[in-house]
């Protein structure tokens, strides 16, 4: 049934620290590696080693430049995946009941056996978190590694999503965001964790921690080298023209 549960016992999700993510793509590749053999298998690729590669991935890592009001930019690496929202329309618009939110832990999943591949859920998601698998004919999305986190055949330290296990800087944490005393909830409270597009109203469970404000004043930019002024003698004029031509400022 695509009606949302009244509430979920737990709210399992991720906390992503934008201050320390280095944009290495380890979480994205680890996600692809696990999920192309797990619950979401296959995650098909087209022309993966050619000139026009494409494929279904559940985690995408953007890099943004943020320019402050006083100038001075900083680079923020920004992993983007399903946020396992509390009130998402991607579940309610599904005509078949394939898209659903689990009452016990809040994970949003797609049943690959009943999905008809109409893509309407991807239209309903403002986060672009769902990707269509052209070979499999069904929609793919982050499962929060539902086939790892409860998997008792894995060592206990491996019972976290593949992206969390892979992150070399510890920028990703997994836990119950419905429990105010959990490590992830405390981290969100301490660091001022926020929702993406809170104004949209889907109530994402995943939280992002903001980049810390840089307290070290940026060094002033070095003054540009003086350029020979046009005019003067013919020889000076000639070298001024060469200088302009070589530094790509036209002749």
């Amino acid at each position: 049934m695509t009606a949302l549960p009244e509430g979920t016992g737990r709210k399992l999700g991720l906390v992503i620290d934008l201050d320390i993510c280095v944009g290495c793509q380890a979480c994205a590749t680890s996600c692809k590696e696990w999920n192309t053999g797990g619950y979401s298998a296959p995650l098909s690729d087209h022309d993966p080693y050619g000139a026009d590669p494409s494929g279904a991935w559940l985690n995408r890592i953007h890099s943004y430049e943020v320019t402050g009001p006083a100038g001075g930019g900083r680079t923020v690496h920004f992993p983007r995946s399903c946020l396992h929202c509390e009130e998402p329309d991607c579940v309610t618009v599904c005509p078949t009941g394939a898209s659903y939110k689990r009452a016990e832990d809040g994970i949003v999943l797609v049943n690959p056996d009943t999905c008809i591949g109409c893509k309407l859920c991807s239209w309903a998601c403002p986060y672009g978190a769902r990707e269509y698998d052209h070979d499999d004919g069904v929609m793919k999305k982050c499962t929060l590694c539902v086939d790892r986190i409860y998997n008792e055949t894995l060592a206990e330290e491996d019972r976290v999503p593949a992206c969390v296990r892979a992150c070399p800087t510890g920028a990703r944490a997994f836990g119950d965001l419905g429990d105010p005393d959990s490590a992830v909830s405390r981290q969100v409270a301490d660091r001022g964790g926020f929702d993406l597009l809170a104004e949209f109203g889907y109530k994402p469970v995943n939280k992002y921690l903001p980049p810390r404000i840089n307290t070290v004043a940026a060094e002033p930019a070095p003054a540009p080298e003086p350029v020979a002024a046009p005019g003067g003698s013919t020889v000076e004029g000639f070298f001024a023209w060469v200088d302009r031509a070589l530094s790509g400022r036209g002749g």
Binding site: P95, C115, C118, L120, P126, G137, L197, I213
Partner: protein
């Protein structure tokens, strides 16, 4: 949004079919207009054929068309599911009505069956529109006038399709169906004009700063993309038509879908002749296909804030 040809054909063909079914059903329920003669049967058959063509075409964009029957199950929450249920439900009275006319039996039941079919046609077109209008992610769709535009265009194209049959029937001349078509064309043109003015005046509520939550630090622009080639989200949700082309196409719609067919129908009424109704059909068909293409191509999706769009 990517304008998928199967969905454009689906919404326009089924819209025209349901429009014909509506006017024909209204006429049969009230005992007016094309009756159980060959013109009535041919019109009813064409209406059902257009509806069926549209519904079949809508399954072409599915990853698993063989599972389409599952879409009838979630009518409590999903407008797509409601549309499926209503489309199937409308076939029941419409099919029995067709049988009644073809066999000449159950003449007493025809007004009821035709009335139910007309009602089903309105409800199905409304739910088609609501599939789009209910999506908060696309501001060009999440509007109160999207439903009325779909209804008015279905009524207009349906009346244009029915008018030649009505004119060929025993009650000679273009008659009330052509008048209804003229009125529906005028209403649809006014609604569409207002729609375009509305989406042009709306810059979008959401920004890249809200999408990334980085607004406190400053202005956000993409530096390195997450993938070298477009992915599904960019191809499906990132399609956008150049403003210049959109304006040209809007003028084409105003001319081809509204002004010229309207003038031809008016000419038919003035002359009391049926022939101007024929050239109105290809003009309106091309016009409504362009209108529906623009409905998708001009729609901007919030997810594109992550891919460089500043507002959506």
């Amino acid at each position: 949004m990517h304008p998928a040809y199967s969905v454009i054909l689906f919404t326009t063909a089924s819209g025209a079919g349901y429009g014909m079914l509506f006017w024909l059903g209204l006429a049969a329920a009230l005992g007016a207009g094309p009756g159980p003669g060959w013109t009535g049967i041919a019109a009813l058959t064409l209406a059902l054929a257009l509806v069926t063509l549209g519904l079949l075409s809508s399954t072409f964009h599915l990853g698993h068309p063989e599972r389409a029957w599952r879409a009838l199950s979630q009518w409590r929450t999903s407008w797509l599911s409601r549309e499926g249920v209503l489309a199937v439900a409308t076939y029941l009275p419409a099919g029995l009505w067709w049988l009644a006319w073809v066999t000449g039996l159950w003449a007493g039941a025809v007004p009821l069956l035709a009335g139910l079919a007309a009602l089903g046609a309105v409800a199905t077109v409304w739910s088609t529109a609501m599939i789009y209008a209910s999506l908060r992610t696309v501001r060009q769709w999440h509007r109160g006038d999207v439903g009325p535009v779909y209804l008015a265009l279905a009524a207009a194209t349906g009346a244009l399709g029915l008018a030649p049959f009505a004119a060929a029937g025993p009650a000679a001349g273009p008659g009330w169906v052509a008048l209804a078509g003229l009125a529906a064309l005028a209403v649809a043109a006014a609604l569409k004009w207002r729609y375009w003015a509305g989406i042009d005046a709306d810059p979008g509520r959401f920004t890249a700063e809200q999408a990334t939550g980085l607004g406190a630090l400053g202005r956000v622009r993409p530096l390195d993309p997450p993938h070298t080639q477009p992915n599904f989200v960019m191809r499906e949700m990132g399609y956008s038509v150049a403003r210049r082309h959109a304006l040209t196409l809007r003028r084409g719609v105003m001319l081809g879908l509204f002004a010229l067919p309207g003038a031809l129908v008016a000419l038919a009424l003035a002359l009391g002749a049926a022939w101007p109704l024929i050239p109105a059909l290809p003009l309106a068909a091309a016009g409504v296909l362009t209108e529906r293409w623009l409905f998708f191509a001009e729609a901007e999706h919030v997810s594109q804030l992550y891919y460089g769009r500043a507002r959506a």
